[in-house]
Symmetry: C2
């Protein structure tokens, strides 16, 4: 049996990780390897993904890698929170087996030049506003998949477009990886947990509470009978403005698979928003 | 031990191939799986790749798939030779274990939308003249790698840029696949074998003999002391024109790894050419 608790082992090199994982696969033939990819600054959202992974009785490998090629905004990369010591403690407490913690140089050697693009799904929502972001995501996720060779990988639903893109990539590239989806974890106020929340000013943190409240309000309007996407989106703009949210990057109501805008909103559609508070960009979404 | 001779099994579906290969991997733990990807119309060039593969005492899987997304020219795709019955006979004679023979629909489902790009290396040579071609190549090769899960894959040196791109992709995407390189196989005249040779008119077939003769001539001029790339390329243009080759797509002398043009030619550089005879495009290359 696998040891749990305090047995976290750190794999700090790709080459080392590959050797260890080959060995694990040989020795534990019927035990799945489960990857939880993160950029660190772990919060309850990440931890819930790990708890989800634990149900599969596998070997759990969490990766922490702040992937430079998915940051279209240099300041966002520079300011991305780093809480490695605390992260490691959390992973130990949860009984995670391995932490894959590579350097940027190890992941991207100087001649690196390959891009994976999921061409259609990345045209919408965040993809429209963060040029190159999803190419960076697909590419690093494929690399992590090839390094760790997991049977299962877990992604959260907050990055709803990311999840759709990764699921599509897995099919399109004939990968044998089961993708698990983790629910959005929220504060009591409803604010979706995000590593970027801690970068908000106190005032903007207060304002941010309204992001989710707005989504809930729109869903209740939908349930009362309003089906026009244009009308619902306008209602949300008005709601947000009344709460001091002025910089709305997008509000879209989309088909959850194709990510194409719904004109007439249906049950199962997703309302997705990105807003900016100061320099901090936050996203959230809710299923109708 | 593995049976040889006449035991060719055909895998006509991706899902079937995946199941069989998983079984093979379980049952034959230390025997490598070797993939030889082709587009059919097999000639001695392909067969030499298979013979190269045989030295590794593995399970040999040849794929035949005329990949539509790597054809930038619709007529080239339409006219690409198909000699499947003869191909199968040749594979049986060589004792190939499996033929992976999927349909286009099986490989590219209707929502398929993912592209793999090796961004720098595809800017040169054929990549410059066949927009999208190498994206199509990298994407299908990665898919074949993920379906067949080979330990070793074999590619010919005639598609010298393709080989460079695939080797780069394997490194960049952290794949555990050893790439074997097959020499260019030539007719007695020196003409490089190509499935497209059989599409040439009799007259153009005669003219095509001079492609390689020209490369040999330039190499001998280099060995006599001419080191200027511009001068050597001019000599080759004059040589080709004197032999009735009028449509030269490119002549480049490049570094074999970066594919960047050499101004001063060095031992180890590659001279690569693409010429058109009628509607048929032929490539060849030679190492200095």
């Amino acid at each position: 049996m696998l040891k749990r608790k305090n047995s976290l082992k750190i794999l700090d090199k790709t080459s080392k990780a590959k050797i260890i994982i080959k060995k694990l696969k040989k020795e534990n033939k019927n035990i799945p390897i489960i990857l939880v990819p993160t950029m660190g600054a772990l919060h309850q959202g990440h931890l819930s993904l790990i708890k989800k992974a634990e149900k599969y009785n596998g070997i759990i490998i969490v990766s922490i890698f702040v992937n430079p090629i998915q940051f279209n905004d240099k300041n966002d990369l520079k300011n991305y929170p780093n809480t490695l010591r605390a992260d490691i403690e959390k992973l130990k407490e949860l009984g995670v087996d391995y932490l894959f913690l590579p350097t940027v140089k190890d992941i991207f050697n100087s001649s690196f030049q390959t891009t994976v693009s999921v061409n259609e799904l990345q045209k919408f929502l965040c993809g429209k506003h963060r040029p190159g972001h999803f190419n960076g995501v697909s590419t690093i996720v494929l690399k992590l998949f090839n390094i760790i060779n997991p049977d299962i990988a877990v992604f959260g639903r907050k990055d709803f477009q990311q999840l759709a893109i990764i699921k599509r990539m897995v099919i399109d590239l004939n990968l044998d990886i089961k993708i698990l989806e983790g629910e959005i974890i929220r504060e009591e106020s409803g604010l979706a947990l995000s590593s970027r929340n801690k970068l908000l000013t106190k005032k903007n943190y207060e304002i941010a509470q309204n992001i989710y409240q707005g989504l809930m309000f729109i869903r209740s309007e939908f349930k009362k009978g309003k089906k026009s996407s244009v009308q619902l989106k306008r209602l949300l703009v008005t709601f947000y403005q009344s709460k001091g949210i002025r910089n709305i990057e997008y509000i879209n109501i989309v088909d959850r698979n194709s990510l194409i805008d719904s004109k007439t909103v249906r049950t199962g559609n997703i309302i997705a928003v990105a807003i900016k508070l100061g320099k901090i960009r936050l996203i959230d979404n809710l299923k109708f």
